[in-house]
């Protein structure tokens, strides 16, 4: 997994609260046995009408958001099912960063395990970003090392992230390899039980 330190990209604003993982990737696409190719099913029933044609009312289909790599969403983003297919779909579609006032716990973890950076910003900051990105191309920069989100117009907001996860994301480390180096401790624990 490649590490992520500095990142710039265009914003896709999804001004909805409680976006659940059933919307991010509907269940009929969960039957694959690999991790690839989920991007085309991202937000499937919002992006496409029942006849399979693009739903022009859903902003992700808008020309100006093509190539967006930072998703800005509402409260409790990623709630519901634990399906890791949700971050797989986001990543495969091209999203590297998701910003929201709050995330569902399982989704938040699943993002980080896949090199997607989930960023919690205050409600007021998220509102500014949503507004800035509505109807226009809007580029944001994310600096994980400094823990800052900024734009060229003067928006500047710092964010919190667990130092452990920050290291993991910046270096793109494989967590299992790290944990296996604690084999002695795990064995010790198992012996004492």
């Amino acid at each position: 997994m490649p590490g992520i330190r500095q990142f710039s990209g265009n914003v896709f604003p999804l001004n909805r609260e409680n976006v659940d993982t059933d919307q991010i990737i509907p269940k009929q696409f969960l039957k694959k046995i690999d991790r690839q190719g989920f991007g085309k099913f991202l937000f499937y029933h919002w992006r496409f009408n029942d006849n399979g044609m693009k739903n022009e009312d859903f902003p992700l289909n808008d020309e100006k958001y093509q190539g967006a790599s930072i998703l800005v969403g509402g409260n409790n983003f990623g709630c519901g099912s634990s399906r890791e297919h949700a971050p797989w779909a986001l990543l495969d579609y091209g999203f590297q960063v998701v910003i929201a006032p709050s995330f569902a716990d399982i989704f938040y973890n699943n993002c980080m395990k896949n090199g997607i950076l989930p960023i919690r910003l205050s409600h007021s900051s998220v509102e500014v970003l949503l507004e800035n990105a509505t109807n226009t191309n809007y580029e944001l920069s994310v600096d994980l090392e400094e823990q800052v989100v900024s734009d060229e117009e003067g928006f500047h907001s710092s964010f919190e992230i667990d130092p452990y996860w920050k290291q993991m994301l910046m270096n793109g480390w494989d967590e299992i390899t790290i944990t296996l180096s604690y084999d002695d401790q795990i064995k010790q624990y198992e012996l004492l039980r």
Partner: protein, 470 residues
């Protein structure tokens, strides 16, 4: 020692390694596996030549996409591939599997407790968000993603930050005709779908203590719908009575020793929580959700709300979007809304007591014409027991379909799908857009409320049926 709550005790018991600036390395006692969220995890192991560290602490079944009608011929080849893959993976890595034809097969959160794999004091994970169900036994149980499934398979541990604890205290007693499902729906309607984010919920209070184990499972099951990865209830005599004699539970003296140990898990007198919320059990009425997330719920006597009842613009928009999707007009009384489908099943409400309660309502009556009604037992064991008690006959005579066990219409990964625009009274846990089928309109209710809706063809206060026919 400072008084600790049950979550803190369980946590301390399972820390393998602790270091400043890192999450704790937590040992996992039981790992439940199913066909949908595991293939990529096993593939990950294979690619790196890794083994499953503790196959004996791992147990697998097939539930999400299994057909519930004809099991001899699996029409869905993609689903079949996932099932075959799980079989191969379990054989290769030495994991016990209850496959589609096995007598232990069932929804993973139904069979864990049934087999006695679920026990107080254990840490339990599964690649499924409703793993919170097992917290009913005083276990710390939570859903994980596929990367974490792979991590547990390889190491039997997870790096976890200690969660905050939220106490939800329910005093009093639930009224006549009011179930554990109504209680948890009322909790979510009152406090919201995000209230538990970052927390483990400990359910306490008189009304909780009076619940049976199956009712406690219903409550803990939907903790995730309040945003909490886990819900937990301290074990007591009701827990021990349930566990006695279950296959994987210690016997004789060992059982007595286990009870002594389990009793110590109970939150200490004076233990604190990061947040406490309260609700009176006697206030809860039978619930029906009207919208597209589980907090959009009302009592059966109430009307569907209007967007202008809400303060925030984002809420008003969400309510309007939900009304549009659900095909409902603001101000409509929910007990005037007709239904097309009834689903009694899912890891929330497919246990024997759920089916018994629903059968009691259905007995001697007929499903309203035009309504398609399904009963899907949670496990083969539930199905067999229900048939011994003649419940299937009551359902079939009334016009219900009686099916094989699985997740079925809760998430419609198999052929059990609610068609677009159709309205379903469902005992499951999620009313998200498209959850039961693209364009399907889901209303979450208790098993008895689902049974009542099947009989009358619309949402109905089950207490009225119970009074009339008693």
């Amino acid at each position: 020692m400072r008084p600790r709550n049950i979550v803190e005790k369980l946590w301390d018991d399972h820390v393998v390694y602790q270091e400043n600036g890192k999450p704790d390395l937590l040992y996992i006692d039981l790992h439940l596996v199913h066909e949908v969220t595991s293939p990529q995890a096993f593939e990950g192991l294979r690619l790196k030549n890794r083994v499953v560290r503790k196959p004996e602490l791992t147990f697998a079944t097939m539930d999400h996409n299994v057909p519930t009608d004809n099991r001899e011929v699996i029409e869905d080849q993609v689903a079949q591939t996932q099932m075959t893959k799980l079989q191969e993976n379990c054989t290769e890595f030495g994991i016990e599997l209850a496959d589609i034809h096995h007598p232990d097969q069932g929804i993973v959160h139904v069979i864990g407790p049934e087999l006695g794999l679920t026990q107080p004091g254990k840490t339990i994970v599964c690649g499924d968000s409703h793993t919170s169900t097992h917290g009913a036994f005083g276990a710390l149980a939570f859903g994980i993603g596929t990367s974490e499934v792979e991590h547990v398979l390889a190491t039997q541990t997870l790096w976890q930050s200690k969660p905050k604890t939220l106490q939800i205290e329910v005093d009093g007693t639930l009224g006549f005709g009011v179930t554990a499902k109504d209680l948890i729906l009322a909790i979510i309607a009152k406090f919201g779908v995000g209230v538990g984010a970052g927390y483990v919920i400990e359910f306490t209070g008189e009304a909780i203590r009076k619940l049976s184990m199956e009712e406690r499972m219903t409550v803990c099951n939907m903790s995730i719908e309040a945003g909490a990865r886990a819900g937990i209830i301290s074990p007591d005599e009701i827990t021990f009575d349930y566990l006695k004699g279950k296959r994987h539970v210690p016997e004789g003296d060992d059982f007595q020793k286990a009870i002594t140990k389990w009793k110590q898990l109970t939150s200490d007198e004076g233990a604190s929580h990061d947040l406490t919320l309260k609700l009176s059990g006697s206030e809860v009425e039978p619930q029906v959700t009207w919208g597209t997330n589980p907090s959009m719920g009302i009592s059966i006597s109430q009307a569907v709300p209007a967007p202008h009842h809400y303060d925030k613009k984002s809420e008003q928009e969400a309510v309007q979007r939900a009304l549009d999707y659900m095909g409902l007009e603001e101000g409509t009384r929910i007990d005037e809304v007709p239904i097309d489908y009834v689903f009694i099943g899912s890891c929330t409400n497919s246990r024997l007591s759920d089916l018994k309660a629903a059968a009691e309502v259905v007995k001697g009556k007929k499903v309203q014409s035009g309504v398609t009604a399904l009963v899907v037992p949670g496990s083969q064991s539930v199905k067999i027991q229900a048939e011994k008690e003649g419940l299937h006959e009551i359902f079939v005579e009334a016009g219900f379909q009686w099916r094989e066990s699985g997740c079925s219409m809760c998430l419609a990964m198999n052929n059990d799908i609610v068609p677009p625009g159709k309205r379903c009274a469902s005992t499951s846990n999620r009313n998200f857009e498209g959850r039961q089928g693209n364009g399907a309109r889901t209303h979450l209710v208790s098993p008895v409320m689902a049974a009542a809706a099947a009989i009358t063809g619309k949402f109905t206060d089950v207490r009225k049926l119970m009074t009339v026919y008693q």
